[in-house]
Symmetry: C3
Subunit: 108 residues, 3 copies
């Protein structure tokens, strides 16, 4: 038996990890995962001239957080976009997921 939940994905500059984590925790997220990432954004801000170099020396981070509620997932995405994406490169989006145990994603 699985339960519907939502994943918010944030891809942005690595230096913002701490501040994004604060926004996640302030909006009901209790855990998150991140991986090093590279890429090219629609405004070219995340681009690096040498794509091959980016694959090895990744300067972005992809942060993911799961919340049982769509409102929480969207609030995290909206807050991150509002606070950072005027001045820093980044994108954010939501994905539907199914979790096994709902309580692991609810704040204690």
């Amino acid at each position: 038996v699985t339960h519907q939940a939502w994943k918010t994905v944030i891809i942005t500059e690595k230096l913002l990890v701490d501040r994004v984590a604060e926004i996640i925790e302030a909006n009901g997220g209790t855990g998150y995962t991140y991986v090093s990432a590279g890429g090219k954004g629609s405004r070219g801000k995340r681009a690096t001239t040498d794509r091959a170099a980016v694959v090895d020396g990744l300067s972005n981070v992809k942060i993911e957080v799961i919340t049982p509620d769509h409102a929480n997932a969207e609030a995290i995405a909206e807050a991150v976009a509002a606070q950072f994406f005027e001045n820093f490169s980044g994108i954010t989006y939501l994905e539907p997921v199914e979790i096994l145990r709902q309580h692991k994603f609810v704040p204690a």
Copy 2:
């Protein structure tokens, strides 16, 4: 033309990769992908005090496997959770995906 399929995502400690791979193969998964990851879990077990350090020195792994059948996807998640998540930190969840060719994800 695409076909509905399911992705099981497992985020856990890096030392478990081999054992998770065995569970995947025992439950109908024929291929998997992993990336190095860091993060903070709901129980704090995946946390590292210095978040910035985690981004560079990632001690977790995010493993993904696609199966055409929801029952297989859920069986992998349930088996991993049952065998490891009492003693190791980790989360697992399912995502709906669309694949191009179904046969690539079915055991030969």
Copy 3:
């Protein structure tokens, strides 16, 4: 308020990043993200004998691109599969996502 969009995921050999990026841009993708990845494919082509080594020395790349249109997302996947997956290892699939602002994913 979110908008439905689609993510195309391509997992393949790292040396193909530039050529996959060209296909993405030729099919309406305006930005993409990638992370280093390891794994084992259904044909064993992505396999490395020592799984633990793969986690640290990742030789594959996972590329993701979001487009507002399912047709674009599928066109990218079909083009990548047609051009590379006879001779190189790789998989590609689509995922439904919700984006905040549609214009960021449409070519200027």
